[in-house]
C-alpha cells in the first residue's frame, strides 16, 4: 500500500466517523421531532404534530417489514410478492385473538408470529430448495389465498367489513393509548429490528447469506446449507411483517382486507428496491421516502384532485430512475465518501481485473 493511499485512507476514516456521528444526530433529531413538537405548532403546509406522528407510525411499521424483505432480497437473493399477506396474517391474528378470545395484545402478537412463521416454513421449505425465483410465484399465490380468506371467512374475519374495536396495545395495565406513546413503541420496535438485523448481517449466518448471494455453489462447497439459510431468512422476514401487522391492528383498532392485498406487496418491493436491498438502512430510507411522497401527493391532491392519482406514475418513475442510476438503492448516496468520489485510482487492480 502506497503512502499516499494510506494518508487518503486515514483521511477517509476520519471523514466517515465524522459523517457517521452527524448522521446519528440527524436521525435522532428526525425521530424526536414529532414527539417534541408543540401541539399548536404548524410546519409549512399546515403539518401539525398529530399528522407527523401518524406519518411516522406508518413509516415505522412499513420500515419494519421492509428491513425483513431487504434481508430476503439483498442477502438471500429471493423475492417475495406476498409480504402483504404476512402483514395481514399478523394484523388479523391480533385483531381476532384480542377481540374474540380476549387475549392480551402481546400474546396475540406472539400467536400471529407463530402462525406466520409456520406458514412461511411450509411455503419456503420445498420452494427454497429449488434454484430460481419459485418463491416469488409461491408467495404471489399465498397473497391471493390469504386475501380470499380475509374476504370470505366472514365468521372469523368479518369479511369485507373487517374486525372492529381492537383494543389498544398494552402490557398489563400499561396502555399505549396516545399517539406519541404508540409512535415511541413503533420506533422502539424498529430500533430493535434494526439492531437484530445488524447482528445477523455481521454474524456467521449473515456472512453465509452474503456468500450464497454471490455464488450458491461456492457457499455450499464452504459448508453452507444454502436452502436452510434462505429458509431462515424468509421466515425472519415473514415474522417481521407479522409483527408490523400486529402494530398496525392496534394502531388503527380496525382491520379490513384492503391494505393487505397485492398492491401493498408491490409497494413494499418499491420501498426496498428504491432504498437499497443490500443494506439495513436502505429499506428504512425507502419506507420513509414512500410515505412522505404519498402523503405529499395526497396533500396536494386535496387542492388539485388529479395530482393524487399521480402517485403510481411518480413511484414508477422513481423506481426506474433508481434501478438505472443507483442500482443498489438510495443508500449508495450516503455511502459515497468524499475521498472515494475523487477517482478510480483507489482500486487500480479492480479496474485491471474487470
Amino acid at each position: 500500500m502506497s503512502a499516499a493511499r494510506q494518508i487518503a485512507d486515514k483521511g477517509g476514516a476520519r471523514w466517515s466517523s465524522l459523517l457517521r456521528a452527524t448522521a446519528w444526530l440527524l436521525l435522532a433529531a428526525v425521530v424526536a421531532t414529532p414527539l417534541l413538537l408543540g401541539e399548536g405548532y404548524r410546519l409549512p403546509g399546515g403539518v401539525g404534530k398529530n399528522y407527523l406522528l401518524t406519518i411516522g407510525i406508518f413509516t415505522g411499521i412499513h420500515a419494519i417489514i421492509a428491513v425483513g424483505l431487504g434481508l430476503l432480497m439483498g442477502y438471500a437473493g429471493q423475492v417475495s410478492l406476498g409480504h402483504a399477506a404476512f402483514y395481514g396474517l399478523g394484523a388479523y391474528s391480533s385483531a381476532i385473538l384480542t377481540t374474540k378470545l380476549g387475549l392480551p395484545p402481546l400474546l396475540a402478537m406472539l400467536a400471529g408470529i407463530m402462525l406466520t412463521a409456520l406458514i412461511a416454513l411450509i411455503l419456503g421449505a420445498p420452494t427454497l430448495r429449488l434454484h430460481g425465483h419459485y418463491l416469488a410465484m409461491f408467495t404471489l399465490g399465498l397473497g391471493m389465498i390469504v386475501q380470499i380468506v380475509f374476504n370470505q371467512a366472514r365468521g372469523l374475519t368479518g369479511g369485507f367489513g373487517g374486525v372492529r374495536n381492537i383494543p389498544h396495545l398494552g402490557i398489563g395495565s400499561w396502555q399505549f393509548d396516545t399517539k406519541p406513546e404508540f409512535y415511541a413503541v413503533v420506533m422502539l420496535t424498529l430500533g430493535v429490528t434494526l439492531l437484530m438485523a445488524h447482528n445477523l448481517v455481521n454474524s456467521r449466518s449473515g456472512r453465509a447469506l452474503r456468500a450464497l448471494h454471490e455464488s450458491e455453489l461456492a457457499a455450499a462447497i464452504c459448508g453452507v446449507d444454502v436452502a436452510r439459510s434462505k429458509l431462515q431468512v424468509f421466515v425472519i422476514s415473514a415474522v417481521l411483517a407479522s409483527v408490523a401487522g400486529s402494530l398496525y391492528a392496534h394502531f388503527m383498532r380496525f382491520v379490513s382486507p384492503g391494505p393487505f392485498g397485492f398492491v401493498f406487496s408491490v409497494d413494499l418491493l418499491i420501498m426496498v428496491v428504491v432504498g437499497g436491498a443490500g443494506s439495513i438502512w436502505g429499506p428504512v430510507a425507502g419506507a420513509a421516502l414512500f410515505n412522505i411522497l404519498s402523503e405529499t401527493l395526497g396533500k396536494i391532491g386535496e387542492q388539485v384532485p388529479w395530482v393524487a392519482d399521480l402517485d403510481i406514475v411518480l413511484f414508477g418513475v422513481v423506481l426506474v430512475a433508481v434501478v438505472v442510476f443507483l442500482p443498489r438503492g438510495l443508500v449508495t448516496l450516503a455511502a459515497r465518501r468524499p475521498g472515494r468520489a475523487r477517482g478510480p485510482a483507489i482500486q487500480p487492480e479492480a479496474q485491471a481485473e474487470a
Binding site: G206, A211, E214, L217, A218, C222
Partner: protein
C-alpha cells in the same frame, strides 16, 4: 517400489465405477480409483475428458449417474455439497469462484463456516459467547491468510486481487474448513512461472505441514510431475492409465492421448522426480 510405500497408507477417498451422463453425453464412464491418506494424486487428461466432472461428483455438486463414492470408509454418494464439506472435503474451482464483493478475510471466514457453531438465533440476539467466537474466528482466518501471504490484503475486496492472489485466496478459503482432503482444480491456470513455482512449494507444504491429502488437476506438466506422487490419466470419460509420474511419462497410450511425443521427449527429466522421492 513407490506403489508399495503408498499402499501402506489407508484409503481416504474411493470411487467405484463412477459414471455421469448429461442427456446423451457421457462425461464419465465407469471410472474407479482411490486416494491414499497423505498423498498427492495428480489427474491429467485433455480438455473435456471428465476431470472436473469427477471433482464435481466427489464434492457433491452432481450425483453420479452410476457408481459409488466413499470417504474414510463411509458412502457419501448423493450427499449434498455442504454435508460433504462438513465431512472434510474441500475444493477450489478451475474458474475461480470467490465471493468477489466480500473482503479477503470474509472469504476465509465463510470457508471456516463448518468450524464455527454460532446459531442464527444466537447471532441475532448476540448471546454471550458469540462475540468471543467471532473474534477467535477472525484470528484463525488471519492465520490462514498469513499462510498464503495475503494477510496484508485482508480488508481488500476479493474481486480486486490479481488472478494469482485469487487462486491463493481460494486455497486459503478451502484450508480454513480444516479438510482432510483438498481437491485443487487447475490451481496454476493464469499464473506466471514464478507464481507457479511458489504454488508448487505451497502444495508440498500443505501435504507436509498440514498433513493433507491432495488431489490435483493440472495442465502444467512441470508442476504436476514435480509434486504428484501418483498420476491418473483420464481421457474421454475413461481412466486410461495410473502410476508414478515416470511410468505415466513413458506410457505410450498417455503420450498419444495427451502428452504428445514432444513432451515425452523434452518434458521435465524423469530423474528429478525420482531424486525427490
Amino acid at each position: 517400489m513407490h506403489d508399495c510405500a503408498v499402499t501402506e497408507n489407508e484409503i481416504v477417498l474411493g470411487f467405484a465405477e463412477v459414471s455421469k451422463f448429461f442427456g446423451g453425453l457421457v462425461a464419465l464412464d465407469g471410472v474407479s480409483g482411490e486416494v491414499f491418506g497423505g498423498e498427492i494424486l495428480g489427474i491429467i487428461g485433455p480438455n473435456g475428458a471428465g476431470k472436473t466432472t469427477l471433482f464435481n461428483i466427489i464434492s457433491g455438486v452432481f450425483s453420479p449417474s452410476k457408481g459409488e463414492i466413499g470417504l474414510g470408509g463411509r458412502p457419501i454418494t448423493g450427499l449434498p455439497c455442504h454435508k460433504i464439506a462438513h465431512l472434510g472435503v474441500a475444493r477450489t474451482f478451475q474458474n475461480i469462484r470467490l465471493f468477489r464483493e466480500m473482503s479477503v478475510l470474509e472469504n476465509v471466514l465463510v470457508g471456516r463456516h463448518s468450524q464455527a457453531s454460532a446459531s442464527l438465533i444466537g447471532s441475532v440476539l448476540r448471546l454471550p459467547g458469540i462475540r468471543a467466537e467471532e473474534s477467535q474466528l477472525r484470528q484463525e482466518a488471519l492465520a490462514y491468510l498469513d499462510m498464503v501471504g495475503l494477510s496484508e490484503r485482508a480488508e481488500a475486496k476479493a474481486g480486486s486481487l490479481t488472478t494469482g492472489q485469487q487462486r491463493l485466496l481460494e486455497i486459503a478459503r478451502a484450508l480454513a474448513g480444516e479438510p482432510q482432503i483438498i481437491l485443487l482444480d487447475e490451481p496454476a491456470a493464469g499464473l506466471n512461472t514464478r507464481e507457479t513455482e511458489a504454488l508448487g512449494e505451497f502444495i508440498l507444504r500443505m501435504q507436509q505441514e498440514l498433513e493433507l491429502t491432495i488431489v490435483l488437476i493440472e495442465h502444467d506438466m512441470r508442476l504436476l510431475m514435480e509434486v504428484a506422487e501418483r498420476v491418473m490419466v483420464i481421457d474421454r470419460g475413461h481412466k486410461i492409465a495410473e502410476g508414478t509420474p515416470a511410468q505415466i511419462q513413458a506410457d505410450p497410450q498417455v503420450i498419444s492421448a495427451y502428452l504428445g511425443e514432444e513432451f515425452a521427449a523434452n518434458g521435465p527429466p524423469v530423474q528429478s522426480t525420482e531424486e525427490r522421492l
